[in-house]
Amino acid sequence: MSWLVPVPVVLPLIGAALAVLVGRSRAAQRVISCVILTVTLVVSVVILVEVDSNGAMVAHSGGWPAPLGISLVADRLSAILLVLASTMLLAVLIYAIGEPGAERNHVGFQSAYLVLAAGVSASFLTGDLFNLFVAFEVMLTASYVLLTLGGRAEQIRSGMTYIVISLVASSLFITALALIYAATGTVNMAHIAERMADLPLGITSAFALLLIVVFGIKAALFPLFFWLPDSYPIAPSPITAVFAGLLTKVGIYAIIRTQTLFFPPESQHGTLLLVVAALTMAVGVLGAIAQDDVKRILSFHIVSQIGYMVMGLGLFTLAGITGAIFYIVHHIVVKTTLFLVGGLIEHAGGSSRLTRVGGMVRTAPALAVLFLIPALSLAGIPPFSGFLAKLALVDAGLGASEWAVVAVSLVVSLLTLFSMMKIWAGVFWNPVEDHSDDEYDAPPLPVGRLGGPPFMVLPTAALVVCSLAISVGAGPLYDLAERAASDLLHPAAYIDQVLRP
């Protein structure tokens, strides 16, 4: 079955090429994208089932054995994230098709979107550090295009921040990569792991930190996150939703993967990660409560919640990493959903600023429900998925006697609840306060019974159902996350599978 492993990368690339070829027909492009992403989703699910029952699958590109050639490796963690990413990509694509103006009039939306999908899949699947760099580049270049499509002034300005920071991050990544190659003489991740064990502790510690910093820029850790809240809110809603749900998570995935695979426990920086986690959570949420725009609040929350995932990793216990994985699963779904709802609010109210919309609990009750469920989930209110994720981390943190970070995480979750209530009160309760004209705001549109165009509402609703499903099926899902975490904590099997098939 290992021939399936490259499919989630190659298929979207083929789709992107086709989308360019049929560029004149919007309908054909849509059909191609939807079919491609649906097939990718199915393949991802098959990979997950296969990997979970029979262990990791490895594919060697061009038939060159590891460590010479490039290995693609699907283990439990990769497969879980792959399934989630394909689901989000498909749902958001449908949403973008439904949103007037999101993909229409933009040459190349569909192709860039599919390339993004390929880049995300490749990041999760690759077993080669240099190839990870390439996957990042594929993903990032596509994201530059998607961020600036439409070419509005503020989009290009904030896109500039994003692009410059990303380029710097890429050059730092390639620098770190070169240093690691200099010391280990290899770029195959399993091989690096083997050779890293022979290096002096000082240099492995430094490498561990270098990689945390390099991927931390992408993942938006403190103090490397500043670019994110400045650039995300400006993009069109579906784009922001995909970025929010997936891109930072690729960074956190890379951190988890490299830290657990490369570095023996004595060169890991658990305490430092916990401090970073606490600061990321706290500064992110303080940023969120200081905003009065739905998309800006949500953008700061991305940062804040990355802290929770790092907290799980920083504990370096089975429960901690399980919690981190579970948190990522929950977060990807919920965050994407919230940005989609943010887009619906903007569509229905003409703005995403809290002062300019209001009273939607009466005018768009369907949106109220679609917002409230993921919002409460994000704030960790039971019985939604976010509560279970938070509980897993609190349980793990207290189990490891890390009182301080648990205390911070609980206070932050209260502030998260506060900012969600702020959105709730501002969008759904209050009457509209600010009636002044503003060139950026569109006139409010009639929303109908659903709260928006059907193809925007349905994928959003589907994702809400997804997040409820995570909560209902949390038992098996937690066990799966635990198996994935156990794989990560015992990397010998991964290394053997790649190097000695």
Partner: protein
Amino acid sequence: MTGLVLLHALVAVLAPAVGARFGKRVFALTVIPSLATLVWLAVHLGDVLDGGAVTETYQWVPGLDLALSFRLDAFGALMVLLVSGIGALVVAYSAWYFPHRPDLGRFAMLLCGFSGAMLGLVLSDNILLIFVFWELTSITSYLLIGFDDTRESARKAALQAILITGAGGLAMLAGLVLIGQQSSGGTWSLDEIVHNAPSEGAVMSWAVVLVLAGAFTKSAQVPFHMWLPGAMAAPTPVSAYLHSATMVKAGVYLIARLAPAFADVGLWRELTAGVGVATMIWGAYRALRQHDLKLVLAFGTISQLGFLVALFGWGDSKLLFAGTAMLLAHAFFKAALFMIVGVIDHQAHSRDLRRLSGLGRRLPATAIIATLAAASMAGVPPLLGFMSKEAGFLGFADSLHSGADLVLAGLVVGSILTTAYTARFLWGAFAVKPGAEDPIGAEVDRPLPPLIIPAGLLAVASLVGGLYAPLADELVRPAAAALHEPAGEYHLHLWPGFTLPLLLSAVALMGGLALFALRRPVAALQRKVAVDNGADDAFFALYNATLRAAARITRIVQPGSLSFYLSAVLITFAVVPAIVMMGDWEVPDGAVWAESPFQAVIGVIVTVGAVGATLTRRRFAAVLTLGTVGYGVAMLFVVQGAPDLALTQFLIETVVLVLFLMVLRRLPERFAPRRTSSLRAAHALVALGVGAFVFAMALASLAARTERPLGHEMSEVAYAEGGGRNAVNVILADIRAFDTMGEIVVIAVAAIGTAALVRAGRARRDDEAVPDEIRAGVGVDDGGDGR
């Protein structure tokens, strides 16, 4: 039991649609789950009162010890009776209380959802499951307090309530998890935790405090009480149901459940007794100052909750018994009184006790019901409230723990004040006030009977429970026994004999009436020592301080300046790993500065070019000097013997240079004005530091190398297996073809993006937007004008 909770959820989901279609008749739907629960309770009541229990367990997240495990015992049965019994009455009351309005479906939904959550809370056996329902009641409470969302006071009160109960809830979560982790055998079952003595230790002491923090916020104990008066912004049925009879009892409920096991752990007893008594006295004192009848009751509720906390928290079985009786009595009389206030509000359109005058004559039935319920509140025989209070006094009088006398004294003071505000309530609602300004009362109509029947039933229950003490005894005794196996037989007595408690009750009644009679001087005194809203002010001070701090911190970390962001990234990149490398810096064996004079010369040229690029003010010159760097690096490749690489580098460098020159035509000749020299110095420091760090890391990495790099092996297999004489080509097109494919995709996408931008630019060239924006975009390079 899972089924009953789900039934509530299902009906709640249906309610808005039904409400939109059928208006008030939606309440006929949402009363069904409560009635179904009562029927179910009736079926099991016999067994449960005999000491049995009904249990049910479904797995949810076994990995986190979270299970849907429910358990109905006698204490749970009493709680279910309150939740569903009063729930049904409140739904019936709502149907007559509300005028027709379009959002009744939403109201019915929230009320029904709350019932389900509260039911789940009192039936849960898993301590994490308790928390699940606990938070759900907080959320439904938030949505109900803010139901009249166009009023700012309602929104503010809702927010305050959820922040306070939410904060307590999170503390409680930590406490519960600690208790679960520490419990013997790792059990998360409430029943088992209570019956197996908890392990001692510092962790448990903290766990207990955290759990109490949750209970205190939920049950509105001083100093967390201020959300409850605010919650009176909710429609009156909500006040009667959530904020007096059920939700605010959740904290008391948890204390009651845990006290038998934890009363001796850490500060439990000191905290519950101290906070409980303080709350009882302070709440009652504040009730004496209110002019809004609903607020009199709200502060009265705070006071009574303090009483309950003190009773249950002590942990003696005699006091658990008294607390159980009081819990029942309080739910009856307080829900009834809130409904009465609703009736008055509904009929007279005012709750201001300074203006209401002569309602007693106009609304005799209402007045009788109110008097019965209020008498129970004040502890007048022969009502249920009297007997419960007696039992409480007796329990403390007999307690062997130190400090019981002090608590008893505090409770008597609280009871005196209780009598006083009860009298004030009755007088305020029904008396004829000759001197009242703008009085209301003469033209008030009688309410429709259905509006007062629910309150009437509750008042009658208070009376029957008192007159036929054995009846109440049948329920209260097993309920208290379910909390903790009693040391002896306790009963509720209508006539206890001439004992200390009776004396204290008499003191409470007489003292209270005296205080009421002296209300004018008392009020004058209260005005002088006004410290009323201390807790409320503290809350909002903290709230505003948090917002201000958030805004300030965000301004500091998000200045919108790209150069700031870049500096942060680069400094972190260099400094953090450098710290752990301390002492491990090494130079590889045989390292030389340069292998040939060419390298040295090129190195100097590249350095000069790089420094020159940062110093020049002209864009054109900067591009050219940067070109020097690129070509210099290419020359290094030539010297190193890598002609393909060098060729590629030359090509790229040339293309970039040409492109730059084309763009430069559209940009100003010079960069934006220079910034301060200190900032430039800082930037130079960052740049040099990062350069030095990477240089040192490169040396150290090479020095640490233990194995031959893979590159050598690649060039060996390139010909043997790849069949190509040019190793670079084989690597690019075969061994690492997957990378190459990715890079091609990168270029293709970049081309698509550029094409899109150009098209977008062309489309709006007329309005001059594009040159500006390109300028602004590129301008980010030379200044902090990102936002």
